[in-house]
Symmetry: C2
């Protein structure tokens, strides 16, 4: 009935287990059939009693067979209809790597960082220190809100450089903006259902709040930031804004509008989500101080990230919650655990405590300022008066308007690709409508100055000679 093969690498007891299991599931062995005794089956198969005993124990533990005292083992009654049709593989895992993503020598993606910029040696050293100091801490979950030392480092950095005034217990370490917004969406959903977003604006907040069943209300962006009259006329009670560097248009919200926005929040019991995603990268003068610092006790949820200066692949960001939300946060997340690795949280804390972070910020500001200037020069040289540049002077991208272009942005993108030039579609930032004239988003973080110049040259050729391409 059963066949054991000594040359098969599968252990004998498991061979037997597999065969009996298959007979039970296929119905070859009927329910309540008595199995041979261990001694008899071992003799029949010329194998040891341990082999049979091992197989029976497994089958028993999983419920394929049951036992009666002093009578031995019997086949369980299973629901044959629900049993798998075949135990052999009915799907074959295909493990080929999915086709590699197309590589563009001139990739103007707005979220690419300088490929040589990651401080590998320092990071390795800090990680190694973190591992040595914390190997005993790895046996438990850690603080759900994030490592205390890292929160202290972030608090003092934010106060010094961004004018954010908070206590470390208002800071929540998150695995990226999406997770931070998940937290915010949970915290506010009992009393809020409509979120206002900038249009054009970042698509991620729209996705996260939509996934949490919020209605999304889109507010046009003017050079002074989002249109406050439009916001006030809406029934939104939450607004997501990028006041220090509007994404994607690059505008700075002037302080008069900031104060009006704060007033809107205070009068209506509304909430402001301030996404301060890349404010370290301002190439003229000081970074613009945060909205939160104007009203530290207000209903302002501040969000910052390490993705733009250090690495988007590390997945570390943070929220500063207003004091008014802390009790609710603790109630909702009481049973939760941290979302970022303790080792990398501690690595980052060490990196900050030792002063590497602020040195790195300064270094990156210089690197990106040079790329930014190279891009402006190239645009001036190759586009001249055909192009209007918006949002220069900060961040990792700028916006190029081509008022006289006979080609749409989609057409330009399509024609640029075969030349190795990739543009991130500007239309992705629009929830409704679109720009009045042909508009391109030009990120410059991932390319060298030479590549930027060549890329803009190619792009200008595409835009210039639509019929030749």
């Amino acid at each position: 009935m059963f066949i054991l093969n000594n040359h098969n690498p599968v252990p004998l007891y498991k061979q037997l287990y597999n065969q009996i299991r298959e007979h039970v599931l296929s119905g070859k062995l009927l329910p309540d059939t008595r199995l041979p005794s261990v001694r008899d089956l071992a003799a029949e198969l010329s194998t040891s009693r341990n082999t049979v005993e091992g197989a029976y124990q497994e089958l028993y533990a999983e419920g394929y067979i049951y036992s009666k005292p002093r009578s031995g083992y019997f086949v369980s009654a299973l629901d044959q209809d629900a049993a798998p049709l075949s135990l052999s593989r009915n799907l074959k895992a295909h493990k080929q790597l999915p086709g590699p993503p197309a590589i563009f020598p001139f990739d103007f993606h707005p979220a690419r960082l300088d490929p040589e910029s990651f401080p590998t040696a320092l990071w390795r050293k800090c990680y190694s220190d973190s591992l040595r100091q914390n190997s005993q801490q790895l046996v438990q979950y850690g603080d759900p809100q994030g490592d205390w030392g890292l929160r202290c480092s972030i608090q003092s950095y934010l106060e010094r450089s961004r004018g954010v005034l908070c206590n470390p217990d208002q800071i929540v370490i998150c695995s990226g903006l999406q997770q931070g917004l998940d937290v915010v969406a949970h915290l506010l959903k009992d009393h809020h259902s409509v979120v206002a977003v900038e249009n054009p604006g970042y698509f991620l907040p729209r996705s996260v709040f939509s996934n949490h069943s919020y209605k999304i209300f889109s507010v046009p962006v003017r050079p002074g930031g989002l249109d406050l009259d439009c916001l006030k006329a809406s029934n939104s009670t939450i607004v997501y804004v990028t006041p220090s560097h509007q994404l994607p248009l690059g505008y700075v919200m002037p302080v008069a509008n900031r104060l009006k926005l704060i007033e809107w929040a205070e009068e209506g019991g509304n909430f402001i989500i301030e996404d301060d995603y890349d404010s370290e990268l301002r190439y003229h003068g000081r970074p613009i101080p945060s909205l939160q610092g104007l009203r530290p006790q207000g209903n302002i949820i501040y969000s910052g990230t390490f993705s733009k200066i250090l690495s988007p692949a590390l997945r570390v960001s943070y929220l500063v919650l207003p004091s008014s939300l802390l009790a609710k946060y603790r109630q909702l997340y009481r049973d939760y655990f941290p979302t970022v690795s303790l080792l990398e949280q501690r690595t980052l804390a060490i990196f900050m405590e030792q002063g590497h972070w602020e040195r790195h910020v300064r270094r990156m500001r210089i690197i990106y300022k040079n790329k930014h200037n190279a891009l402006l020069c190239a645009i001036e040289h190759y586009f001249g008066s055909r192009a209007v540049v918006i949002g220069q002077g900060a961040g990792l991208h700028l916006v190029l308007q081509l008022p006289g272009s006979s080609l749409s942005a989609v057409e330009i993108n399509e024609r640029a690709r075969p030349k190795g030039v990739r543009l991130f579609p500007f239309s992705d930032f629009y929830l409704s409508g679109g720009p009045e004239s042909t508009t391109l988003l030009v990120g410059f973080g991932g390319m060298t100055a030479t590549e930027i110049e060549l890329g803009i040259k190619l792009l200008s050729q595409v835009c210039n000679c639509p019929d030749i391409v």
Copy 2:
């Protein structure tokens, strides 16, 4: 009017900026007041024109002042009511570390791992390799579903050791069970609103689904797993189960019940969430194969973790989604980013590819088996017939029933604490009701065999002599 102090470490331009800003916000400088020219103010303050120019540029960039061509700078009209009452610090950050958590020499917490067990040297080596191989990848976000190589390693491990049959593209790398369940809650919420959970059962899934506005239906647990008749009689269309090692009671769901559960899912278009959190740790015979492997094409969402074998502080877990949910997943999470650091994902992938993971699993199984046996011996020795042990033979905890105890579990916990013995409250696992007799949850992962023995001795004294304590 303004005072600059050369001995102040704050740069001169910033001192000037701060003073003008404060005058504007406090109303001392009225709207539309013309500021002195750069040349005049520089002369008045005996400072360089660069200092004044720098301050004006900052104030202009932030909107505190505006400019008229050929007339100079003017104070902006701000809403004074909304301006901060004082720019001086109105809250003082307190950075003292919150009081250290109480340390218990005999901590029977069920989620503590062996404090010496983390493979520090190997992990450092793999992290270092990961960093060397991927420093160029750190400039972008990476695959939102998780690193492909890690998903391939998990796929083949799950097939080999857990009988899970899937393709790597069904695997989603998550930052812990909570985040995995967040994904599931999002994926299913359009057509489902009631989740059945085991009672007693793990509290985290109840929290996550409640936070997503699902109704929670609690199903009693029997020695054969959760009560299927009760489940069928409910209006739940999702069930969260721990079939291979019920948390907290330790029961294994026999295959007959597994097949019935699968049939429940198939007939009603319902979903099973199989949490296979610690199935590697089975001390007699083979680990129990997964439910997913019985019906790889069914509506079974499989969840696994690295928290029990490697470290809960790393925050890496994974979901295996059924093929039927993949399209929806991609639609909902199209705009999202990964939730786990690329470097640690790649570290784990290297750790698995080089065979360290499976060696580590075997090592941990031996370490915890010895602790488990020491605990059983100690219970036998100090409690004898007063105690009934449930759920032994697997995992990192077992359940101790004390049918004749005159003390409640809460009383025992309270009396044990002064002796340095900490017990995780068993009642936290109950959504409703509670155990019939005094029941304790005894985790053994974090203590040595000697500590376990001493801890059980102390516990037996507490339980034995209620009046002396």
